[in-house]
């Protein structure tokens, strides 16, 4: 009933020879209907993925995604594009491994080339204690069915001979590697899900900000928006970065703060770095995009903010990490910085859960790990919305884990969001 027809190499050739006249809109711009069965607030990666899987996997209909700006304008549009499942804790690793498996079949599934590229990720090791911790983590990954390898210094040197092996303040002693880790073209993820959802009848409504959530007798009835009231049986909130603002409509205080994470890209350079690497002695991680830009980042700025921009201390800190690890990048130029607002949760792990209000569901708290989670987050949130039961890989992501003392604290930093 909807859609643009399948994408394929043959079609690209055919269109090229006929003036590209056949390409239709990737998605419609429908007017909102009076009511839906499901409203997803937030047209970022997680919201779009949720709508897509609700329609495709859970066979639900009458679904709308409400986006206050443009589709994919959330953190799916501003991140460092890394996918991996190299987590330690039981509450996390099965979920992220599920996500990685979904990435591995995603493009064929939604018929959009998002350039999922598993060129490997390494976490560098600089101390014996780090090696012990990464060994524990690597083993946990394997126990969870993921892949992991421990590299020694010479194996790292063989991969990246230009790292600082000669004059490092904190010598490289090895690395934890996940070969199935890699990168994805981030915008394409949003567009692929959007196109896939739209073609299955989901209404994607841009420039539609939710200004209130209406409830009656403890049950959600719909949402007020800048384009009027829209009724709904179930409302799913997937607005990471702004979760506290949206949930404040129903008076809920969340276990999270909003922080800015800056990320960076250099000018385009001929290929240098094939995979993804994270520095273990500074705040720096890097990969190189298919266009040639070094895409890198570091720590969050560390103060509560909704401003989507950062300040110099973190920019410099990240550059210092980069220069100490890769001494040649002194003459590469930083082209652009950007800032995304993160839901920094109290234990560094997300929440996919029901709320005390019937029909209102919440997905957020992704800290700065949300991009890699996109497929599983959408799938698990769709599962919860459609069945009222958590997906088996997301059972730990509950609100009440803090009350029960069941925190999922990968970094062991406790209830201080800016340290996760």
């Amino acid at each position: 009933m909807f859609g643009t027809g399948r994408y394929s190499g043959w079609r690209v050739v055919k269109e090229a020879l006929t003036g590209h006249k056949g390409w239709g809109p990737a998605w419609r711009d429908p007017e909102p209907q009076a009511a839906y069965d499901y409203i997803i607030i937030g047209g970022g990666g997680h919201g779009l993925a949720t709508a897509y899987y609700l329609a495709k996997e859970f066979r639900q209909a009458r679904i709308a995604v409400l986006e206050k700006g443009y589709l994919g304008g959330g953190n799916v549009g501003r991140n460092t594009t890394i996918i991996r499942s190299n987590y330690l804790l039981d509450g996390n690793e099965p979920f992220y491994e599920f996500s990685l498996k979904l990435w591995e079949g995603l493009e064929q599934d939604f018929n959009f080339n998002a350039m999922v590229s598993q060129r490997g990720i390494i976490n560098l090791i600089h101390t014996d204690a780090q090696r012990d911790a990464f060994t524990r983590r690597g083993n946990a990954m394997i126990l969870n069915g993921a892949d992991a390898e421990l590299l020694d210094r010479e194996q790292v040197r063989a991969m990246y001979p230009f790292l600082n092996f000669n004059n490092a303040r904190f010598p490289i002693k090895g690395a934890l590697m996940q070969r199935r880790g890699g990168t994805v073209r981030h915008d394409a993820v949003a567009w692929g899900y959007a196109r896939g959802a739209d073609s299955r009848g989901v209404d994607l409504i841009q420039n539609c900000e939710v200004t209130g959530i209406r409830t009656e007798h403890g049950r959600v009835t719909g949402v007020d928006t800048t384009r009027g009231f829209i009724g709904a049986k179930k409302v799913g909130v997937a607005v990471a970065g702004n979760s506290s603002r949206v949930m404040a409509h129903v008076g809920m205080r969340l276990p999270m703060e909003s922080h800015v994470l800056q990320a960076f890209v250099s000018e385009g350079l001929k290929p240098l770095i094939d995979g993804v690497m994270t520095y273990g002695a500074g705040h720096f991680y890097v990969s190189q995009s298919d266009k040639g830009g070094l895409v890198f980042g570091g720590d969050i700025d560390g103060y509560n903010t909704y401003a989507q921009r950062g300040n110099m201390p973190v920019v410099e800190d990240v550059a210092e990490g980069g220069m100490s690890l890769i001494p040649m990048i002194g003459r590469a130029r930083l082209l652009r910085t950007w800032g995304g607002i993160m839901d920094m949760s109290m234990d560094g792990s997300p929440i996919i859960d029901k709320t005390d209000i019937e029909g209102l569901y919440f997905n957020g708290g992704w800290c700065y790990g949300g991009f890699k989670a996109t497929p599983a987050s959408g799938w698990c949130f769709a599962h919860l919305l459609a069945t009222d039961r958590p997906h088996e890989t997301a059972t730990a992501y509950r609100f009440d884990r803090f009350r029960k003392g069941l925190m999922i604290d990968e970094k062991g930093q406790g209830a201080q969001p800016n340290l996760h």
Partner: protein, 969 residues
């Protein structure tokens, strides 16, 4: 080669010639030239290739907005890819290479992409390369990645130095054109502290590129005179070659000063560049405007330039890009290019879009040879070497939008101007504010400075503006020439054409953000300085929305790209982080010690003796000698905090899980510190030296954090407690002296009696050593031996280690490092960093009883949550291999015998592993589910990363002297 296109005039020093090479060919230029102006003077219009289609390109601009003329500057480790030839100051011996072409700039095999452009439309890759699945990573992507990028890095360490600095001023003025100079004169004459920064090496902005007079002088001469006056003012700091890259919060601006880029190599001791953080009370954005092109077919050939830039090459650099010039404009400023060039004797033909005239096509494979125009329904082709294009000027709003405020559309000039108040304290003036005449620039510059002075409480001098042109700027928007079948470029570097924007519209990628991301418009190294407004204007015309309705993408720092080295400054290599050295470091270095990084500290890891080739030999010897006689270890790195006041004891009861107010004077106690969430985060021994005086020790890793948290508790939670804190970590050198002969050794140094009766286990005293030196002694033990920690003022630390070693000779004393320390603490079952992982409770560590429920301490309440008191949870255990010959590996996981290696069967992990020379085997501590109940059980320790498994026995974590007889001895 001759400078065939050099014409008279300009601000170059013709008395000197500079020799330089481009792609191996030697050329001559003059001081004052840029690489681009010198190449153009030599008739070299072709300087680069575009990113996607590898189209031949020359410069379209004369400034930092340049998208095309990118080169690899310098060679060897100093190679700088993607360098804009238009801003490179020429120096003698400069060498540059073209990039992103193979095998040569003139013949580039990758230009085949240009022929296939019909397939490589915007977003084509999202629609293909999906089958077969494996081919993306194996075939398609490697090809794409190989083709990606522009220039290449050297792969060698950058040899230059970079610095950082901090500047403070009343008024920062960004840009030294007429507006900026007038603002600086106004504020400078009023005595304000002014910083005037300009990205160019020659201040004056467009005054250097124009022919009209200012105050009866040529513009350039007036600018030079203003610069001279400003240089004479002590309150004005002139910063040429300095780009303001970003507006941060609270009046802080980041700036990059290119100190040495105009030299072959930096002068000795000088940095290449400096990153400045400028703290300003007020700022004026006088950064001028950037011209924008018009999209028409084949508008990207070398020789097609922005009109104002073509004029600048003629007026400032004495360069004719060609002798026959066409000018295509939709505004009056373009006409100025025509008249200036005519005055210089060039043949000029004007195509005025406002009269319905258009350029519809161009020709010339490696450089423009002719243009085709349409006028009144007639098309005509004529030969020319240069085409000047003006689609109007965009005020440089970037900096004013760095706080994400959006610029405001101004219909009169058909361009965006800065929004009011988007950055507190910043005002725009001159062309940056959309005021394009010289007179208006001078006026608004003066007015902005007067406003700033008023804000600063200073009176402004009487306004004294020079006479200047105040010509009109009439523009009728003309964005693109339609109707043709060929490609018309919008973003030249990324090869985004009119067709791509139309396709994005057709596919509903109509939001400006979608347009940018789908087509890559504005994502090249120029960040869309010339193409962005044009692109969104085209989209607006397609959607039928107005340009302001369509909006802009976000302007983000940096204004122009910044070298990573500049942002890092001196924090690289060994100077990445400060090094903290222990008091025994010098002595240990003399002994050939091996050091290890522990946070910022360097600690002795072990001290090899002659003949020892394996680290284990040294460590085993250190352990055995300590346990047999006596060993000495520098433990200065442990955090030390003096805590004094009548409420000191009560305060410690709040911050420790166990009780300290009841501790007797002269005694020490082991303490456990929880976070408020009930997780253990630090431990250490705290001694009570007096009724109101305690000395706390923390772990090395958490010294700073504990002190911070204590201050937090003191100031925020218990503000009326009488308690004072001071960190003394660096005030005391502290050594552990451990082993059966520890007391005998120390008694040789300590002036007082330290017999067991006088100083029992867990006792502490203030003492003197070596005949009167003030010191402290604590009878505490991490090794399980009879042990003391002795502290002297840090400056005596080196003397003390030497004295301990000297006096220890009769006992065969050893000095041991962190490895032996680790071995002995594991043998003794003490937790350390690997167990204090921020995820473990006191109960996990077997220390649950230490958390007092009788008092309200930090973490006490939440440590009682059910999930943290699971009877089936992790408990600290000792681990031994069943076969002593087998080695354990930390990070291995416990599995039952016969259990499949899946997460459901995971029982825990080995936290710390050492080789115990006493037990003659590998031993470990670990967290094991129901560990207390599993003593004596045999499990598997699986290191799946290495495919290795060891059968282990679960034992008590106290491997050595479990009754503690030795330490009480």
């Amino acid at each position: 080669m001759t400078q065939s296109n050099r014409i008279p005039g300009g601000q170059i020093d013709r008395s000197r010639s500079l020799s330089f090479t481009f792609d191996g060919v030697t050329y001559q230029g003059h001081p004052g030239d840029t690489l681009a102006s010198a190449l153009l003077a030599n008739g070299q219009r072709l300087m680069g290739r575009s990113f996607k289609y590898h189209r031949p390109r020359g410069p379209i601009s004369a400034g930092s907005e340049e998208p095309n003329a990118l080169v690899e500057l310098r060679g060897g480790a100093r190679r700088e890819p993607n360098t804009r030839a238009t801003v490179v100051e020429l120096f003698d011996g400069l060498s540059a290479e073209s990039q992103n072409r193979w095998p040569s700039l003139k013949f580039d095999a990758m230009a085949v992409n240009d022929r296939l452009s019909n397939f490589f439309t915007a977003g084509f890759y999202y629609k293909t390369f999906m089958w077969p699945k494996a081919f993306w990573e194996k075939l398609y992507e490697p090809i794409i990645r190989r083709a990606a990028g522009l220039g290449s890095l050297s792969r060698e360490e950058d040899p230059d130095q970079y610095d950082k600095g901090f500047l403070h001023c009343d008024l920062l003025i960004i840009g030294a054109g007429p507006a900026g100079l007038m603002a600086a004169l106004t504020a400078g004459r009023a005595g304000a502290r002014v910083i005037l920064a300009d990205e160019d090496f020659r201040m004056g902005g467009r005054l250097n590129a124009e022919t009209h007079e200012v105050g009866g002088l040529t513009g350039a001469d007036w600018a030079a005179q203003a610069v001279a006056e400003l240089r004479s003012m002590a309150n004005v700091r002139m910063m040429p070659r300095t780009t303001i890259i970003g507006a941060m919060d609270h009046g802080i601006y980041a700036a990059v000063e290119r100190v040495s880029d105009h030299l072959p190599v930096p002068l000795p001791g000088k940095p290449r560049q400096i990153l400045w953080r400028i703290y300003s009370h007020r700022a004026i954005l006088a950064g001028g405007a950037t011209e924008r092109p018009i999209a028409f077919e084949n508008n990207d050939r070398p020789g097609i330039l922005l009109a104002g830039s073509l004029r600048a090459y003629a007026n400032r650099w004495g360069v004719a890009v060609g002798r026959r010039v066409a000018v295509f404009t939709n505004n009056d400023d373009g006409l100025r290019t025509a008249s200036d060039l005519k005055a210089k004797g060039m043949e000029v033909r004007v195509i005025d879009a406002r009269k319905g005239e258009e350029v519809v096509d161009t020709a010339g494979r490696l450089g423009l040879s002719s243009v085709t125009i349409r006028s009144g329904g007639r098309t005509e082709t004529f030969a020319c070497e240069a085409l000047a294009v003006s689609g109007g000027w965009n005020p440089n709003v970037n900096i004013a939008s760095h706080h994400r405020g959006r610029p405001v559309w101004n219909d009169t000039i058909a361009a965006f101007v800065p929004g009011q108040g988007d950055i507190p304290g910043l005002e725009a003036a001159g062309a940056a504010a959309g005021r394009f005449s010289t007179r208006a620039a001078l006026e608004t510059g003066a007015a902005a400075a007067e406003g700033a002075l008023a804000d600063l409480g200073r009176s402004a001098p009487a306004r004294d503006l020079p006479t200047a042109e105040d010509g009109p700027y009439a523009i009728t928007p003309k964005w693109y020439v339609g109707g043709g079948k060929g490609r018309a470029w919008i973003d030249q570097q990324n090869d985004v054409t009119l067709k791509d924007v139309k396709l994005a519209h057709q596919e509903n990628y109509t939001s400006v953000e979608h347009l940018k991301r789908y087509t890559t418009l504005g994502m090249a190294t120029d960040q869309g300085k010339t193409g962005n407004v044009l692109g969104l204007a085209v989209m607006a015309s397609l959607t039928g929305k107005s340009i302001p309705q369509t909006g802009t993408t976000v302007y983000r720092p940096p204004y122009t790209p910044v070298a990573m080295g500049t942002l890092a400054g001196r924090s690289r290599g060994q100077e990445f982080k400060p090094k903290r050295l222990t008091p025994s470091h010098k002595w240990a270095s003399e002994q050939g010690a091996v050091f290890v990084e522990v946070g910022q500290w360097l600690r002795t890891q072990w001290l090899p003796r002659a003949g020892e080739t394996q680290w284990r030999e040294s460590v085993d010897r250190e352990v055995l000698a300590t346990r047999k006689s006596v060993g000495i270890c520098d433990v200065t790195t442990l955090g030390k905090i003096d805590i004094q006041g009548t409420d000191a004891g009560a305060f410690l009861d709040k911050v420790y899980a166990n009780t300290f107010s009841t501790l007797a004077v002269g005694k020490c106690r082991y303490g456990l510190m929880l976070r408020e969430d009930g997780i253990v985060y630090d431990d250490g021994t705290t001694a009570r030296l007096g009724q109101n005086e305690y000395v706390m020790t923390t772990t090395t890793a958490n010294a700073v954090l504990v002190f911070r948290n204590l201050e937090y508790a003191r100031q925020c939670l218990y503000p009326d407690m009488d308690v004072q804190l001071i960190s003394t970590t660096e005030a005391w050198a502290q050594f552990s002296v451990a082993g059966p002969n520890a007391r005998k050794l120390l008694q040789k140094l300590v002036d007082q009696d330290i017999s067991d009766a006088e100083l029992p286990y867990m006792g502490c005293r203030e003492i003197t050593v070596c005949g009167g030196l003030r010191a402290r002694i604590f009878r505490i033990s991490f090794s399980g031996e009879l042990a003391y920690e002795i502290a002297v003022p840090t400056r005596y630390g080196d003397a003390l280690i030497r004295e301990l070693v000297e006096q220890g000779r009769e006992f065969d004393a050893v000095v041991y490092g962190t490895e032996a320390l680790g071995v002995m603490r594991v043998e003794k079952g003490h937790v350390a960093g690997n167990e204090l992982n921020g995820q473990s409770t006191a109960l996990n560590m077997g220390l649950g009883k230490m958390v007092s429920k009788k008092k309200d301490s930090i973490g006490m309440v939440l440590s009682q949550r059910e999930g943290m008191n699971d009877p089936n949870g992790y408990r600290l255990v000792g681990v031994k291999p069943v076969d002593p010959a087998q080695k354990l590996t930390a990070g291995s996981h416990f599995l039952e015998k016969g259990a499949a290696p899946v997460i459901a069967n995971d029982l825990g992990w080995l936290t710390s592993v050492v080789h115990s020379p006493h037990l003659g085997c590998s031993i470990a501590l670990g967290y094991l589910k129901k560990g207390d109940e599993r003593r004596g059980q045999r499990l598997r320790s699986a290191n799946l990363l290495a495919g290795a498994e060891v059968e282990v026995e679960i034992v008590s974590p106290h491997f050595f002297d479990p009754e503690g007889e030795r330490l009480r001895g």
